[in-house]
């Protein structure tokens, strides 16, 4: 299969899975197996792309001309390829987990749930391989709209309110700010293609650069940059598989992925460095990192705490872009992979606890570790990876970011990163400590009684993944290197 | 600077002033009267002022009716035509069309009033407004609370 075919097939397979879901909506096992096969085939397609292209950058191929100068077009470049690999790879695990979760919880509207899920995956792949800002924006919005029913899934007033916040912020920022920025870029430069070294240089000067960057940075609401972060905690009313895949991986990573793409291919790292336009963004990201961590410490609801942790971690990636050095951008790119692996582990563990014992608050989980050692073990590994301790994957991007801050002479940023790690320790480890070491109160089971197999196996696998990634960080760095080298 | 009040100009354009007065009278009736039939009357006056405006612009100073003079053998009498000035017939023709439209509008309006009288039992705008407000209030009472007030 050639590369473009593989991309198209990878985008169509989730839709096929959706059709299958609708067709076999009454046959539980057929339906779920079918989706699993589709998920694996999707991953296979992305692997084919990987083996074809490696870490090269291909020429954009236009699928469709919308109007003059605007195409729906795709190409392969390392960052997008990595994003697609993460998205489709974790879909397999999340699907397995989702089946266990939905059955374990007897959730309703199976068909709608998995159908929207499939559209979301398809648009993630579209985002990953988009070769211009228009295509990216198209799939970005499809992702927003298709995940809305997932957040509102339960249909209770609380979840409707949550879903409204979710939609209002994501659609609001993307239409009001990002769209303006995109059209403005188009008016200024006459193109929206992602080009190495950026397209804006020579077309804009002065105050417009930081303003445009601001429109993009806040407009990409999915990157949850403060003050547009509220949607992420609000989205936690969704069933956990959604939170796991979409709000730890697909949606938020689509946000920071877009942020990196804009920084690297629209503005260009060098252009940002020359104009100093991104300095304010760097400070804002630093503020986001600390503030969200502090807020996370005071959350008792486990999923909410994880959500704030995500906000903080996403700002690492924005920070990487805003530092405007190659090292920073690489660190940001790598963090997409590392954080995805770590955070999905944590979310799946939270879901497993909910499925088995229906506990959502951290204070209720005291002593629960004795009953669920595997789940909490995986949670521990995930936490350590988020904190950034060796030998876990999460340590490398922090290292790269710190190097980048030294390069640019922003020593305060190093302090911020270190403080953030400490705060991570303070809000993540007590969860595990409480579960394992505090005496269990009355009524909490102490005998080994794990969640269903399909609920604890996936987080265990991703936890192992966190360890494995530590040893392959070098390869990821080499893999991503072409995105910042100016020569094509 | 022109004079504040150019009497000669005003006298020369007296017919326009008349149309304006007529037009404003019509519009005022439409806006002011609450009786639906009277509104239609106002509308007619308003339209008629425009008809007259059109008719007047067809008038040419010293012009006669735009009919070809004929000689005994019913041929156009070119001799009689020489030096003759005619009024412009086109605006008159146009306004014939507009009059037809006006009649159609009036009759449709009156027919509507008959139907309104049948179903509202009044042709006074204020009464109708009150009835409609009641209907709206009832609608709101019945339907104002979708999704338990969440919508």
């Amino acid at each position: 299969m050639d590369t473009m075919t593989a991309i198209y097939v990878a985008m169509l397979l989730p839709l096929l899975a959706m059709a299958g879901n609708m067709a076999f909506s009454e046959l539980k096992n057929v339906r779920d197996t079918f989706t699993l096969l589709c998920a694996m085939a999707t991953f296979g397609c992305i692997l084919i792309v990987l083996s074809n292209v490696g870490n090269g950058i291909t020429e954009p191929v236009s699928a469709f001309t919308v109007f003059k100068g605007i195409d729906i077009a795709f190409n392969v470049e390392p960052l997008g390829l990595m994003f697609a690999l993460i998205g489709s790879g974790l879909w397999i695990l999340t699907h397995v987990y989702g089946v266990g979760y939905m059955r374990g919880n007897n959730e309703s509207h199976h068909a709608r749930f998995f159908a929207c899920f499939c559209i979301a995956i398809s648009s993630v792949i579209g985002i990953a391989f988009a070769s211009n800002m228009f295509t990216l924006f198209l799939f970005y919005e499809i992702l927003t709209v298709s995940t809305y029913p997932l957040v509102a899934h339960k249909g209770t007033p609380e979840s409707i309110r949550g879903a409204r916040t979710y939609l209002a912020i994501l659609i609001g920022t993307s239409i009001a700010l990002q769209l303006t920025a995109i059209i403005w870029t188009f008016v200024l430069t006459g193109t929206l293609d992602f080009t190495q070294g950026g397209i804006l240089e020579g077309h804009v000067t002065g105050w417009i650069v930081p303003v445009l960057l601001g429109l993009y940075a806040f407009g990409i609401g999915k990157a949850a940059l403060m003050p547009f972060h509220k949607w992420l905690p609000a989205a936690m009313v969704a069933p956990t598989p959604v939170s796991a895949l979409l709000h730890a991986v697909a949606v938020v990573k689509a946000g920071v992925f877009t942020m990196l793409k804009v920084g690297i291919y629209i503005f260009g790292i060098d252009f940002l460095a020359q104009t100093n336009a991104s300095e304010w963004l760097m400070w804002l990201a630093a503020y986001s990192i600390i503030a969200a961590s502090v807020v996370a410490m005071f959350q008792d609801n486990l999923k909410k705490r994880l959500a704030y942790s995500t906000i903080s971690q996403l700002s690492y990636i924005t920070l990487g872009m805003a530092l405007a050095t190659s090292m920073g951008a690489l660190g940001g790119g790598m963090h997409i992979a590392m954080h995805a692996m770590g955070k999905i582990t944590l979310f799946m563990c939270a879901g497993a606890i909910y499925v088995k014992y229906h506990k959502t608050e951290i204070s209720q989980m005291t002593g629960l570790g004795r009953a669920m050692p595997i789940t909490f073990g995986a949670f521990l590994i995930g936490s350590l990876s988020i904190i950034g301790l060796p030998p876990l994957g999460g340590s490398w991007p922090k290292f790269l970011l710190m190097t980048a801050s030294v390069d640019t002479g922003h020593l305060i940023i190093i302090g911020v990163l270190m403080l953030s790690s400490l705060l991570n320790v303070a809000y993540l480890l007590p969860v595990v400590g409480r579960a394992f070491f505090l005496p269990a109160p009355e009524g909490t089971p102490t005998k080994f009684a794990e969640a269903p197999l399909l609920c604890w196996l996936p987080p265990a696998i991703t936890a192992i993944g966190c360890i494995v990634l530590f040893f392959y960080a070098g390869s990821i760095q080499t893999f991503l290197a072409p995105i910042v080298s100016v020569s094509p | 600077m022109s004079k504040l009040l150019d009497l000669q100009f005003l006298a020369g354009h007296a017919h326009y002033l008349l149309f304006i007065v007529l037009m404003m009278t019509g519009l005022f009736i439409v806006v002011d009267k609450t009786n639906l039939v009277k509104k239609i009357v106002g509308l007619n006056i308003f339209q008629v002022s425009v008809f007259m405006f059109y008719v007047s612009i067809g008038k040419v100073k010293g012009g006669t009716a735009p009919i070809f003079p004929m000689d005994d053998k019913y041929h156009v009498d070119t001799a009689a035509m020489a030096g003759q000035v005619y009024s412009n017939p086109l605006p008159h023709v146009l306004i014939l069309t507009a009059i037809v439209v006006g009649i159609a509008t009036t009759s449709l309006g009156l027919a509507l009033i008959v139907r309104i009288r049948e179903s509202f039992d009044t042709i006074d705008e204020e009464d109708i407004l009150a009835i409609e407000q009641d209907m709206t209030r009832e609608d709101n009472k019945k339907h104002g609370n979708a999704m338990g007030g969440l919508a």
């Binding site: 239409i175 769209l179 | 509308l43 509008t105 409609e132 609608d139 339907h143 609370n145 919508a151």
Partner: protein
Amino acid sequence: MADTAQVVEHTARTLRDHLPVLQVLVPFVTAPLIVLLGSRRLAWPLAFIASAVALVISFIMLMEVREGGMLTYTMGGWAPPLGIEYRVDAANAFVLLLISLIGTVVLPFAYASFRDEIKSRDHTLMYACWMLCFTGLLGMVATGDAFNVFVFLEISSLSTYVLVAMGADRDRRALTAAYDYLIMGTIGATFFVIGLGMLYMATGTLNMADMADRIADQGMNRTVRSGFAFIMVGMGLKVAMFPLHLWLPKAYTFAPSAVTVFLSATATKAALYVMMRFTFSVYNPDFAFATNTLEIIFIPLAVIAMFSASFVAVFQTNFKRMLAYSSIAQVGYMLLGVALLTDTGLTAAILHMFNHGLTKGLLFMGVGAYVLRANGSFYTQIAGLGRKMPITTGAVVIGGLSLIGVPGTAGFISKWILVEAALERAPEHAMFLAIAVAIVLSSLLAVVYVWRAFEVLYLSEPDPNSTATEAPLMMLIPMWILAGGCIWFGFSTELLHDTAVQAANGLLQGSQGMLVIPDQGGAH
């Protein structure tokens, strides 16, 4: 434009040459035919065939003129400027296509909807009226004679009042709605005639091309100027330009569902076309006062309409009424595009005319289906219908997304170009930057009001006593044709965009676009 000059014979000879007049004549003849035959069974097929023929004609004409050039037809062989001339260039061919497309697609829907909403003895006359309205709208757009515009405007308006009043079978407020519309509409049309009278006084001609030529020759004077004011106000009433929009919400809410579909998608668009034709072709847009009027009066009014009408729409409890207010806001977008006075802005306005026609037509059809099955369109009545009528609601969702302007839908394309047009002028004046922001901000209000409807449709529990089932096929097919259009034109805009650019160029060249007077007519 000398290359498009063509010598027109006194009489057109082939069928192809007759297309501009056949466009209007076919439905015009059908209307009395329906009445004369008086057969309830024949009324609908006749109307449908006439609309379909009109659609084919308008499509052929669009294909002929989309690369530039124009088709002219002289009524009865009388050469313009004395005779009445029909003149079709890219701009009117585009609007003609929209009107005949909507007219044709809506008719099957109307068949199903009328059977439910209108007493069966009125059906025959209803279709006759429908055809007259259709004729009037087509004629307004196709003709090149200024007074002819008025005649067709009144033909369409008078039949519209009747059509709106027929909603009285369901709600007696339709009668007063029709009456209000009649008063306002007549005032608007009469204003238009006054404006025409002044232009006639100044130029002595009624042919629009000739008129443009003579205005260009004599320059501005007070008569021509006040004529402009009267025409703009008169057409503004028909377009429902804020603050002349008061007739619209009530008329749209209480008219029979199919009538609302038809009117919302076509009537305001035809009037807007006339407005553009007069602003850009008859008057030269270079005249300072025209520019100033548009920039100083239209832009603020358009922006106010975008926000205030959207804001009111947010608080409606009736889906149909909400959509009516949304229409006023959308007219604001189109007027804004016109008032930007650039190629891109005008392209956006023309494109939005078409795309909004598709979108609103689709949404009002959804309303019609709900009225048929749930007997009303209040939010409490349509609650939870997403599950009971999934195919209908699926189409409504597509329409709603297109109304918001979500990427991948037709509404997105026109909004994109509109923002682009505003930003293009940003280097001139920072005001245009603010306008671009206003466009995107006001579309956020669209998110709010559309999403309210979505939530009601999908997330609330259906009425336990409701017996609603899926709408009949006669409704679903038209709906999905338009829904398909909303998606298709969101991706493939080649045909629409290129034609709109062509139309905008033609219009913006001002009187030059109309200068070519065939053969012996024209400037003396």
